[in-house]
Amino acid sequence: MIIQSIWLAIAFPLAGLLFNGLLGRRLGRGVVGIVGPGTVALAFVVGLFAGLDLLALPAQDRAIVVTLWNWISVGSFRAGMSLLADPLSVLMVLVVTGVGFLIHVYSIGYMEHEEDRLYARFFTFLNLFIVSMLILVLADNYLLMYVGWELVGVCSYLLIGFWFRRGDDPQDPVRLKDGELVPVPANLNPADSGKKAFIVNRVGDFGFALGVFLIWTTFGTLNFADVFGAAPEIASGTVTVITLLLFVGAVGKSAQLPLYVWLPDAMAGPTPVSALIHAATMVTAGVYMVARSHALYALAPTTSLVVALVGVITALYAATIALVQTDLKRVLAYSTISQLGYMFLAVGVGAYASGMFHLTTHAFFKALLFLAAGSVMHALGDVIDIRRMGGLRQKMPRTYWTFVIGALALAGFPLTSGFFSKDEILAKAFEFSPILWALGLLTALLTGFYTFRALFVAFWGSARDQELFDHAHESPGVMTWPLILLAGLALFGGILGLPQILGVDHALAGWLHPAFADLEGEGAEAIHHGLSAGLEWGLLGLSSVIALLGIGLAYWFYVANPGWPADLAVRFKSVFKLLVNKYYVDDLYDLLFVDPGKALARFCAQGIDNAAIDGIIDGGARLIVQGGAWLGRLQTGFIRHYALAMFLGVIVVVAYFFLR
């Protein structure tokens, strides 16, 4: 059975990483472009066969632990290099390698203008990311998961800062109707963005590490199966603290309030990176971690409530910022934060399978949207400001239509993949608390609006910048085919989880059921939640109406009455400025943490290091030099002086012996 060799899924990209990293520069981009995506495709095939193997097993046995070697064994502490293949991790493997493969292929076209050296480096890093992410999702203990967790952070840092020589990217101010110019904060340069992502993630990772330590002191093991087995006997207070600490890690990695600030700036990286790491896979690691630890979260209702609240507030908050962004990738970045909020809402209300379903469909349509945005950037020579686009749908039909499909899925247009997954989450939230549902529904309205605002401004209407428009061209096939495949997934991905009321099985919930079987009322037969069929139809209909309303509003504002948004901006100028400046959260963090941090660093560098420590060392050296120079004067070079010194010495010695 191939599932015993699930490590191959990690080994193939690892081989690709070593190959591209060591030899890629010499062998040229043709070889790199085959090895990079090819190894990921092989990993996908391994995952596919592993999934088939799992299906062949009886449901209660669908959790295979493959121990490669004993990693750490100190006293009673043991950590195995062992992988856990169960429906949950195999689903993640398929999403990561499947979407990852398409993005790798797309990168062949997107990165074609880079030098050979950077081209090989890019694919090396991408493969490293796939390896790290697979270690994260396949780990069977918290320590190995933490290794993957940190490794994906490193990849994120390396890839955000891929163009580390580029400077800050100033954005054109918004000219309001009354003539006032509202400055738009400049985009951070890639090197600083990478640092920001890494440092903000460290805050979350610190919480995650503390959680892992607490698991060790509480349970005496880090193994998933052992921890979850022993969890019901542990005091609920301890479990609450553990889950909260783990959630701090998830907040950092998955860009939730208040640690979301790194994700919009992560858009400084190449667009395939934004698609793969900062939309489809890495940022969902937090959701995966919560779903993986569901046995703990189910025992901590307080934490679950916190998770759900953070999720829904982040969803709404990020959606409001996305309303006014002028940078196409940043609109998508804020929508990613918002959609991740939905996923946390789902896992917070105990709907783990729904969260994983949205994670999967989101990976499809958000990767698609980013790649389409990248295709636009590629065509326009890296211009990303939607105010300079317009009318692109005639120039780039394939990009346009695939973007439309992605936007429809994101907005939750009926029968697209995003519609089913989002509706499922909203229904689960309604069951839990209508307030959460109402906030989620409001977010859905905003989602439809900002997504189609970007679409109408960028692709409809007439060209705003004729020079750019003339330059625009459709991207090559190597870029559009991944778009078309992802568009297919975004459109039909909903088949994975059709609602029960349509009279079909929820395929994904059925698949995940063995992994969540320990939870009561979760799974294929229980996906038909406690709501009556009529209410459920009602919610489904309401979701559709809301999605259409959002899209219609965007049409009304940006196509039918293009003057309205400017009028509104003038009328609610303070709100507009607040949103353009992202609620001043970045400025607040600068004031509270970054500036004091820099001041402390400056004090340590100049006050302690330069002045005190260097002062002691340099002062000691200077003292010896001075003393030597002073003593050196004794040596005059005149023999007479030496002779005199000898005589005086003899006299002193003789006098001493006589007078003693």
Partner: protein, 102 residues
Amino acid sequence: MTAVPTSWFLLLSAILFVIGAGGVLLRRNVLIMLMSVEMMMNAVNLTFIALSRHLSSLTGQIFVFMVMAVAAVEVAVGLAILIELNRLRATTDVDDVSSLKG
């Protein structure tokens, strides 16, 4: 005939030693300095011999032979240095060779 008292020899020896020491410390000519050193040694020799006679012991006289041998060696080396110095710097003045200093 009355013998000369030992104290006179010692006094003469001390005077010779001080003259020698003064010569080493005050003169600049290397040749003179070497001669002054020689004078100091001979002052010591005189002390040895005077005390040897005073104490009726031959040890002091034997010691004098050794000092004379050493003095011969010292003069040989000293004169060699002096000749080389004169050849290199065309001087016999010690104050002109003071470059080895701190």
